[in-house]
């Protein structure tokens, strides 16, 4: 007869990520200290908030009962600016991104071109759209033209990077097969690369169209035209019912853009 084994009556889940108890403690204390410090920098002006409370309610009311009519001229002007800006900037941005994207793909571009193109992409990605817009407004004056330039510039960083990554990921054997037929560099791009990346390029362009519309609503705040400028004015004038109407329009357009672009992408594949 075997002696009965005593099994432990307690079990504690062993720590999974930070197994060293000292580090765990340091991390916990550090996080707690940070949280206290960070929260202490938040210095809410309660009097102002209490006063603004009414305004918040009015805004929610404006959102629930939006006023499309009284500022319709401004709203429709802003919308037209935003939409035209979105389309033109996406088209131009895509046209510029394609050569830069090809140039930034390590497997098809010579090193010098590669570094220049990567540099352009990095610059476009590092700079916030709003900051770029501030500069373009300063240079080109107020209005949608500056917005157009901003969005086109942003499109380059987004699209060229993804395109370059796509080209780097393509099936090498196809490119090799075409090259083996004695094709030139341009023929190789046309026959081996283009068919492989084209569907994704179209998909990404549609996605960027969607993003550009959303951004067009923002850069108006710094003077680059579009619905953002209208929204900014409405809020400055405390016309919350008009602001609510504009926000609703933005949400609906974004939803429509998202649905139609996902539908189009499915259709094109």
């Amino acid at each position: 007869m075997q002696a009965p084994v005593q099994y432990p009556a307690r079990w504690k889940r062993p720590p999974q990520i930070f197994t060293d108890p000292l580090w765990r403690r340091i991390l916990f204390v550090g996080a707690a200290v940070y949280l206290v410090l960070a929260l202490s920098t938040v210095d809410p002006n309660w009097a102002r908030i209490a006063e603004g409370w009414q305004r918040g309610l009015r805004f929610i009311g404006g959102f629930l009962q939006p006023d499309f009519t009284s500022r319709w001229r401004d709203i429709s002007n802003g919308l037209i600016e935003s939409l035209t800006m979105t389309l033109t900037s996406t088209v131009v941005g895509v046209l510029i991104s394609v050569p830069i994207g090809i140039g930034a793909a390590r497997n098809v571009a010579p090193p010098a071109v590669y570094y220049i193109c990567r540099g352009i992409i990095a610059a476009s990605r590092a700079l916030q759209e709003v900051i770029v817009a501030i500069f373009f407004v300063a240079m080109f004056g107020f209005g949608p033209f500056a917005g157009f330039l901003t969005l086109a510039f942003g499109t380059i960083g987004f699209l060229a990077k993804l395109l370059a990554e796509d080209i780097e990921d393509i099936d090498e054997s196809q490119a090799e097969a075409i090259r083996a037929t004695g094709a030139s560099w341009a023929q190789m791009i046309n026959y081996a690369i283009q068919p492989q990346v084209m569907p994704r390029l179209i998909g990404l362009s549609l996605y960027r169209l969607d993003i550009n519309f959303r951004e067009s609503a923002v850069i108006g705040i710094v003077g680059a035209g579009g619905i953002g400028a209208t929204l900014n004015t409405a809020i400055d004038r405390y016309e919350y019912d008009s602001a609510g109407a504009i926000l609703l329009i933005i949400i609906l357009l974004v939803m429509a853009a998202e649905y139609s672009s996902s539908y189009l992408r499915k259709f094109l594949q």
């Binding site: 084994v5 099994y7 432990p8 009556a9 307690r10 079990w11 889940r13 062993p14």
Partner: protein, 272 residues
């Protein structure tokens, strides 16, 4: 003792997965359920703990009805029925111990399970079961660090942690190599013998079934076509179950199999 009478399951698509299945499993009996893919084996054992909702018929465990229970009663019933799965169905990112203790979820409150503070009896039992299936040293490992055979042992320990009155075993060896399969089947039958636990083992490997179980039920297209001891499973009986070259039925059966899985997945979607 498990009693199944006139059990019928018709899927929404109109496919009849089970029609008029009746049998009884007495205390301590290990029953092998064989049949071609999609004969309704998977559907049958999922009907018993109602992961798949039966269309008609009744099931009782120790005289208490399973069919027709409300949500809370069904939970209490489910904890009395242990289930072991084909692909182990462990929660890979939890530790082995948590997987075994999850067998106690039907018994403990939400707070206890959230904080992982299971009572001493539960923990002791879990360690004992891990020891029994030979994984005492692996308690604190994550489940995805184990091999297939070891994971199935954790699955067994989880089912046993429920202290079940019945075991449902769905293709326990389908993802394992022949040697490990044998070890797992031996472990299962030993455990059932030790505890006098009845079990329904869904299995497609006929020789393996004949070697380990006491009774075999053959299903074909949702009907019981064989019920007897392994010795009675003659060539004629096998032909009755699997058909000589009835590929048409096999193909159709496969579709039903997918349907069972899909139905269960959909119901999971609804349950959680």
């Amino acid at each position: 003792m498990l009693e199944i009478s006139h059990l019928t399951k018709t899927y929404k698509t109109g496919d009849k997965a089970l029609s008029d299945v009746s049998f009884t499993v007495p205390q301590g009996q290990v029953l092998g359920l064989i049949g071609p893919s999609g004969a309704g084996k998977s559907t049958l054992i999922r009907c018993i703990n109602r992961l798949v909702e039966p269309t008609a018929g009744s099931i009782t465990l120790s005289g208490e009805p399973i069919t027709g229970l409300g949500a809370a009663d069904l939970r209490r019933m489910r904890r009395r029925i242990g289930m072991i799965f084909q692909e182990y169905a462990l929660v890979e990112r939890l530790t082995v111990m948590e997987n075994v203790l999850s067998g106690r979820l039907g018994y403990v409150g939400f707070w206890t399970s959230l904080t992982r503070r299971f009572g001493p009896d539960d923990v002791r039992r879990a360690y004992r079961l891990l020891d029994r299936v030979g994984l005492m040293d692996h308690a604190d490992k994550r489940a995805d660090a184990l091999s297939g055979g070891q994971r199935q042992r954790v699955g067994i320990a989880r089912a046993l942690a429920q202290e079940p009155e019945l075991l449902l075993v769905d293709e326990p060896t389908a993802s394992l190599d022949p040697k490990t399969s044998r070890q797992i089947m031996r472990l299962l039958t030993e455990i059932c013998a030790e505890a006098g636990l009845p079990a329904i083992v869904n299995i497609h490997d006929v020789p393996l079934a004949q070697q380990f179980v006491a009774r075999i039920i053959g299903l074909r297209a949702g009907r019981v076509v064989f019920d007897g001891t392994p010795d009675q499973l003659t060539h004629e009986a096998l032909t009755a179950i699997y058909g000589a070259e009835d590929w048409e039925a096999m193909r159709k059966g496969n579709e039903e199999d997918h349907e069972a899985e899909r139905d269960a997945a959909l119901r999971m979607a609804a349950i959680v």
